[in-house]
Symmetry: C2
């Protein structure tokens, strides 16, 4: 055989750090992928091939491969094999936090003004984002959040009354709507969209903005099992609020 096997490439790539073996195996595999020697969708060696080539226990190899799978580098299929995933390395994360906690963590004072808290008949759009039918009663709240008396978020929220029947009876000076909803209906998944918009005149007034000041708009839909719990539009003045995120690579 003139051709070099995938495993023997790898055994050359193993560093001799004092780092744990599973870490070094992971790093060696990541290097193969990043440097293009193992391409997307290509099959990587089986666990037993790794074991034979590297002289390491199968549990150790298994841990390396399992972690790389959960980190998105590999895809495994029982009875079939392990393959290089696509698309890794170009995505990074951003976190969207609870506004009250975020303000508290900065050591500032959070307060809010409740502008609306009541019931309305769902129009077609409103029904759609909650997964209900047009004309059903739904809950709505409109709250402005302040950081040291400066408005930083306008929270316009629709709530599915079937999931959170007690929604209107809470004191949202004490806990945020999101915290309450988390409590009554553990979230299982969600989706959000971040965009830049110009606020209208009413939004400018409520957020104490000059005209033409751009805002971040986050629209978020939250599910609990098969039901949509809530749909929120969160509007942040661009001058007072930024989303910050950190990400880590191959550790």
């Amino acid at each position: 055989m003139v051709e070099q096997t995938a495993v023997s490439q790898l055994s050359a790539a193993m560093s001799d750090d004092p780092a744990p073996i599973y870490q070094r195996v992971k790093q060696a595999i990541i290097n193969q992928i990043i440097e293009g020697r193992w391409k997307a969708k290509q099959r990587v060696p089986s666990e037993s091939e790794f074991v034979n080539e590297l002289g390491v226990s199968r549990m150790t190899i298994n841990r390396a491969l399992r972690e790389l799978t959960s980190e998105g580098y590999l895809i495994r299929m029982q009875g079939v094999g392990t393959f290089v995933a696509e698309n890794k390395g170009y995505t990074a994360m951003l976190e969207v936090h609870n506004i009250a906690e975020e303000i508290a963590q900065r050591g500032n004072h959070h307060s809010c003004k409740i502008l609306k808290l009541g019931t309305l008949k769902a129009g077609p759009d409103q029904a759609a984002v909650l997964g209900l039918s047009t004309g059903q009663s739904i809950f709505q709240s409109l709250i402005v959040h302040y950081e040291n008396d400066l408005p930083v978020q306008m929270e316009d929220r629709l709530v599915n009354p079937l999931v959170a029947p007690g929604y209107l009876d809470q004191d949202y000076h004490q806990l945020t709507p999101y915290t309450y909803l988390m409590r009554v209906a553990p979230l299982t998944s969600g989706e959000h969209v971040v965009e830049a918009v110009l606020p209208d005149a009413r939004q400018c007034a409520l957020l104490a903005l000059e005209n033409n000041e751009p805002c971040l708009l986050i629209r978020r839909q939250t599910w609990s099992d098969t039901r949509i719990v809530t749909y929120a539009k969160l509007l942040y003045p661009g001058s007072r609020y930024k989303l910050v995120g950190r990400f880590k690579g191959h550790g």
Copy 2:
């Protein structure tokens, strides 16, 4: 002992699914946390306590605890113990992708115009964001990316020449700067800030925007080990680009 121990609470909470043991252990622990019986910062049983109580191998317990740690439910300290983490459930993720791939995945055509690709002497701000000294030579590129001939991103990038000496010699019609940089200097961490801004006249012209159209601005700093590789300012027209993210709860 009248008081019920933490472990005996847990052994009652273990379901008798046919699911793998480590999964059932994880779910039982998550339930303790969600239902408030184990509170933030509180110590959870040690691995050997779990082993004795549940009659399961330590490796299995270790896997459950290790995965819960990487999922953010627990914090572990060698020689000390394992503790319930704070704040789970209030954060959600957003992904920031590589622009060219994102366009390709939508089935659209990506192209770009390279407006600048050269060297400049670092001013104080520019030196700071790359972790270099004022007056050093640094690389800069300015590229506008198009989706089906409509501009969607303006990429203004500073690059550390010590990390990527070949940066100026690439053809960025073929691969994006970020892809090239990933290849020469595997990223280890990064930070980005997302905000809403109003573009200036020049930016409006390059992105073919009306005046007063808000934009998303992502500023991203990327590290490789101890060195800053690149600092990028990515400007997206608010009308043509939105960040979308999905998140999942306690699985």
